[in-house]
């Protein structure tokens, strides 16, 4: 049994396999099928200052090797999370990380402040990359100044580990990554979804109620791997890789490219046990390659 634990800033994960925000509920939905305590971490769904109903149906369409979604951050708000959900999940033996979203900087700060006292929240993930909300979200994540303004405000409001989730919908992701690092991010996660669109040609209408949505799944994995590779070389903080990871092999692509940890997103919809299988795969891989620790693989690409 190799050593699978990795460090994200001051946060120690038992292994590098986490679940991505918005794809794993609060973990409870999966408890029948996997032992949640085996996960490196669970990133709970995007949490906002006020409750949100999200976007109208239809919110989803299958695409080649992927899907578009336009959920629009449906959630019951941070107060409900703190009062009702946190008590149910805080005793899990895995890192509970809360994804923080908002329309204004004040929104982000308010959620961070509300979460700051919770000692079983292992970290926050500041989402400056949601493509499915009219205000805020991705617009903060596509410019250095936008990213910096949100991240530095959240930094003042949150004392623990702060991860910043980046959008891939930019010309140069390393520029945004460096801006987030300078503004106080302890780690960067990328990529969020790609802005996409699908059309029902018989009806001549968009497939989603919002016209555009976020593309995820293995279809975009090659782009996400490239961006993680670029960012890992450009910053000093740990990088968390995600984007179309379906199994342990895919996870290792990101780790070899420079990611310290990974998130499984869309994979949870296809195989709810994908994370657990991947942890086994990575362990076997390390044994097979005669390695003691997964840390030896981080950025180990021979290029």
């Amino acid at each position: 049994m190799a050593n699978l634990s990795v460090n994200i800033g001051n946060l120690r994960l038992k292994n590098p396999v986490m679940t991505a925000s918005g794809t794993f509920g609060y973990g409870e939905e999966f408890a029948d099928l996997i032992d949640l305590n085996q996960l490196g971490g669970i990133i709970v769904k995007g949490t906002t200052r006020m409750p949100r109903q999200g976007n109208p149906y239809p919110r989803m369409v299958e695409t080649p090797s992927g899907m578009l979604n336009a959920v629009g951050l449906q959630n019951k708000g941070v107060d409900y999370f703190v009062e009702h959900i946190y008590p149910r999940i805080c005793d899990l033996d895995t890192a509970i990380i809360v994804n923080v979203s908002g329309s204004t900087i004040d929104d982000y700060v308010a959620v961070c402040e509300r979460l700051n006292p919770l000692d079983k929240v292992a970290a926050v993930e500041i989402n400056i990359s949601c493509p499915n909300v009219k205000q805020g979200g991705m617009t903060f994540g596509t410019t250095c100044t936008g990213a910096q303004s949100v991240v530095s405000a959240c930094r003042k409001a949150y004392d623990g580990t702060m991860i910043v989730k980046l959008t891939p919908n930019v010309t140069d992701v390393t520029e945004i990554a460096r801006a987030a690092q300078e503004a106080g991010a302890d780690a960067l996660s990328l990529t969020n979804t790609f802005l996409g669109m699908a059309i029902d040609v018989e009806r001549q209408t968009p497939c989603l109620s919002t016209i555009t949505g976020g593309l995820s799944g293995p279809c975009i994995r090659p782009i996400a791997v490239r961006m993680v590779w670029q960012v890992a070389k450009a910053v000093n903080v740990p990088v968390i890789g995600l984007g179309g990871i379906m199994n342990g092999r895919d996870a290792l692509e990101f780790i070899l490219a420079g990611a310290t940890a990974v998130q499984f997103g869309t994979a949870n919809f296809v195989d709810p046990q994908a994370t657990i299988k991947a942890i086994g795969y990575i362990n076997d891989y390390l044994d097979r390659h005669g390695l003691d620790s997964v840390n030896q693989l981080i950025g180990a690409l021979k290029a």
Binding site: G54, P58, N268, F269
Partner: protein, 261 residues
């Protein structure tokens, strides 16, 4: 309704009964162990093998749990590439299935239940009728289809109770859609359980509301995960706004829905 534990199991295709070119009744046996408890109206998420352009699982209503033979029945209509791959499965092939999912139909013990189905929507009504009959109730069925050839599993339904029929072309039963059938307006029905194409369910719901008959419908909103994680399959409800069809449904009492009927 009890909360049944979810399972992910490999099944072996024991039989693939084809009804014409468009429908298949798959009889599946767990590769090991017994079938888990399932309620009528719950569904399964099927991982489609051998299909180039099918990425997500496909939600399929549970048609029957045959405990004697330890077989799960799934009735599949050839709608797209994913369901086509399911219809073309060979005996002996393996299928990965997550089940049971969602909340099913209410099992009423008072008054007569009419089970109204259209096309492949008859699938969950077979299990519902079977369970009702096992509990001593006498369900009746109203089954609609385009033509006589599209009436699926008729022999099975006849074994469970009275079957009323409509066909769009008049080739069997009453000529027209299900809402043309007099049984719906006979005043003898206390409850309706309905599953079929959306226009049919809306028409049945409208008639039920008009007649003051309690009515449940089974929705099939597009879904990704089937377990309440992705929040894609939402239906707007009167009491709680957007809720997941996969976990709060697929069966809803029409009073919860905001349908303009």
């Amino acid at each position: 309704m009890t909360e049944n534990k979810k399972h992910i199991l490999d099944f072996t295709v024991r039989q693939n009964l084809r009804f014409g070119t468009n429908y298949a009744l798959l009889k599946l046996m767990p590769a090991c162990g017994e079938l888990p408890p399932c309620e009528p109206g719950q569904f399964a998420q099927v991982l489609v093998p051998n299909s180039k352009n099918t990425f997500l699982r496909r939600p399929i209503s549970i048609c029957n749990i045959d405990r004697n033979e330890n077989l799960l029945w799934l009735l599949v209509r050839r709608a797209g590439e994913g369901t086509a791959a399911l219809c073309d499965l060979h005996e002996g092939e393996t299928l990965n299935v997550m089940l049971p999912l969602g909340h099913g139909f209410t099992l009423h013990r008072d008054g007569t239940m009419l089970l109204v189905g259209g096309g492949v929507g008859v699938a969950p009504l077979f299990m519902l009728g079977k369970v009702l009959k096992e509990q001593g109730m006498q369900p009746e069925f109203l089954l609609g289809a385009r033509t006589q050839a599209d009436l699926l599993m008729l022999g099975h339904f006849n074994d469970l109770g009275t079957v009323h029929i409509t066909t769009d072309d008049g080739s069997a039963g009453v000529h027209g859609v299900v809402t043309k059938h007099p049984v719906l307006t006979s005043g003898n029905m206390a409850h309706i359980a309905c599953c079929g194409p959306m226009p049919m369910m809306r028409a049945v719901a409208a008639l039920a509301r008009q007649q003051g008959i309690d009515c449940e419908v089974s929705l099939e909103n597009l879904m990704a995960c089937g377990m309440g994680a992705c929040l894609c399959c939402v239906e707007d409800t009167a009491d709680a706004g957007n809720v997941c069809v996969c976990t709060e449904g697929p069966v809803f009492n029409i009073n919860r829905l905001k349908w303009q009927i």
